[in-house]
């Protein structure tokens, strides 16, 4: 009895193995290759990805472009960029040209200047069968995916860093906002407010706008410090213009007394500024991870088989406030190295 059962089991095993072997044989590669590889290569081959940031002239855009080019060309697609150079109209023009041209791209990666202005064009792109991935700046538009910072959370992190810097000091905080239209500025402000509301002893004494311009940032910060010499921390909404705020702090001979908190791309300039005390804390974008998220979601969309505009995914980058104390040699990335192909 026992022997009979064992024989039967052995027979089944052998038969089963044969059957599996035969199906694998039918696929051609006889089990030597991963079954996903062929459909993957099929779905990705020759796909065209176009990145349109607000401008190509600043660190984050150059970083994204370098990573995406590396990855996209790595999986057999083609990668292009357009440079609207901070001009909203030029950006709209570039999108229009691309989606109405002969060679339509498969994926548009868009860094929107504000919450609304590109909505109509991007809907049109989706209707043309193009996936739209928004990066960094969210919009009131359901793109196929958003990859970037949760600016509300980012503002909270900045405010927490500022609160920490103010321990035992005046509890007066000044803000240098970006502008009144950009999602990154609006949500960042709301996040900061939320944290400071939990600390009723803290007070925002001034909240001027820089329009992302360092000279304006410098002038408004000079006035702010003039009016409120007891300020213990200033949050400037972008490292691109925070150089102006830091110059104003130095001029007022308040360096070391006023903590400057900002956010940025995490390029080496950020680490240098933390090192020499220009910035007290920077909430940095983890560029490599963020770019890889973009690449992953692009790969997913291209294989998903779903029509553009039928789903939405939000992928927020992990953010953290970096101060001089937790600087590491790997905290920042170098745009020159990336462009030279060293990843």
């Amino acid at each position: 009895m026992r022997l009979k059962q064992m024989l039967a089991a052995a027979a089944f095993t052998v038969l089963g193995a044969l059957a599996i072997g035969q199906t694998a044989m039918a696929d051609g590669d006889a089990g030597t290759q991963d079954p996903g590889a062929a459909p993957y290569a099929e779905a990705m081959k020759g796909k065209r990805v176009v990145l349109i940031p607000m401008a190509m002239g600043f660190d984050l855009a150059q970083g994204w472009a370098a990573y995406l080019k590396h990855e996209v060309e790595g999986w057999g697609g083609t990668f292009e960029t357009r440079d609207p150079n901070w001009d909203v109209n030029a950006m709209a023009q570039a999108i229009t040209d691309i989606i109405s041209g002969d060679q339509k791209p498969d994926v548009l990666v868009i860094h929107s200047p504000d919450l609304n202005s590109m909505t109509k064009l991007l809907k049109k792109a989706q209707a043309e069968g193009i996936y739209v991935v928004l990066i960094d700046n969210p919009m009131n538009f359901a793109a196929d995916a958003f990859v970037g910072s949760n600016w509300y959370h980012l503002g909270q992190l900045e405010a927490e860093a500022a609160v920490k810097a103010c321990e035992g000091k005046s509890k007066q905080i000044g803000l240098v906002q970006g502008d009144a239209a950009n999602a990154s500025s609006i949500y960042q402000y709301n996040g900061i407010k939320q944290v400071l509301d939990q600390h009723p002893d803290f007070k925002i004494v001034a909240e001027p706008f820089s329009n992302w311009d360092p000279t304006t940032s410098r002038n408004v910060t000079t006035t702010m410090l003039q009016q409120n010499p007891d300020i213990c921390a200033i949050i400037d909404f972008w490292d691109g213009d925070a150089t102006g705020a830091s110059a104003a702090i130095k001029d007022a001979k308040l360096d070391g007394k006023v903590a400057l908190v900002t956010t940025g791309g995490g390029e080496t300039v950020d680490c240098k500024a933390l090192e020499d005390g220009t910035f007290y804390a920077v909430v940095m974008t983890e560029l490599a991870g963020q770019s890889r998220d973009m690449n992953a979601v692009i790969k997913f969309l291209l294989q998903s088989g779903q029509k553009p505009g039928t789903s939405k995914t939000y992928i927020y980058t992990l953010e953290k406030a970096t101060t001089k104390a937790d600087l590491k040699p790997t905290s920042c990335w170098d745009v020159k190295q990336l462009q030279a192909g060293q990843f």
Binding site: F58, P214, R218
Partner: protein, 341 residues
Amino acid sequence: MTVSLLARPRQGWLKKKMSRIFGNLSQETIVFLLAAALFIAASIGLNGFLQANNLIAIVRSVSVLGILAVGMGVVIIGRGIDLSAVAIMAMSVAWYLQMMQNGMSSNEALAYALGGVILIGFINGFMVAYADIPAIFATLASGYFVYGFARSQLVHQDATPVPAGHWIDQLGQIRLGEIPVEVFFFSAVAFIAFLFLRFTKWGRYVYLMGDNFLAARNMGIPVRPMTVLRYVISALIAFSAGVLTASSLHSINVRVVNSNLLYDVILVVVIGGIGLSGGRGGMRNVIVGALLIGIMQNAMTILDISNIYQNLIKSIILLVAIVVDSLLNPRDEQTAQQGDI
């Protein structure tokens, strides 16, 4: 024809009315009084406005604007306009810094940058004086060219840092007493331009050409070389404004070319009372205009007025200045013949 027949008595009526209200005030006086009134109101109403440091900060915040306005003033007085000034300011200095970053010595890079600046001023002047292209189009195009060419071929990113310890860096740290270098720089540039316009033969030619170009040519003034000279001066002044910007921020960001700065420069010139039709005004007007803008911006920042409203308020003041200008300096037969800039 009917339009001008209708317009003429009406203009006369308005002018009479204006002169009844303002007496024989020039626009410069009106703007000066306006600035003084704002100053007094801010001193009373705003805490900390009247502190010495805040007053220094006001002059300092308009120094780059003021220097650019000096260059623009010289061009406009001679009847013209230079819309490429901000592009020259940012791109020349960014190129200078970029060349040093690429490993060139500071002096060699400076020679190239200055050479480029003079060349662009020369091309502007040549287009206006010899090719008879209206200044507004010639310099608009050359400004775009300077930005586009430099940004695509010469400068690799928006923000170019000043190397630590470089003379531009040290320039920004100079203080005389408590007063920062920008204030002296602005005063010096305005004073030199004043001496040039008032006491040199060529300076007087600028007024004569601005007032009546044909008469100036008939009396033997070398009008074409003089026009070229004005645009070269404007370009060089723009370069100095760029150096000053870089010295105070330790870097230069070429995004400034896309900002409102150029309009602010024209605002300062026009508001100060230098008529766009040429031949009138001087450096005093530039200083008065710059101070008004400085006081206004400072007060609006202290009051925490948002950007959108700041622009609205500025634009209303510009509109008022232009209307007052056209009423006080009405278009006459002569300006009509010469056409606009």
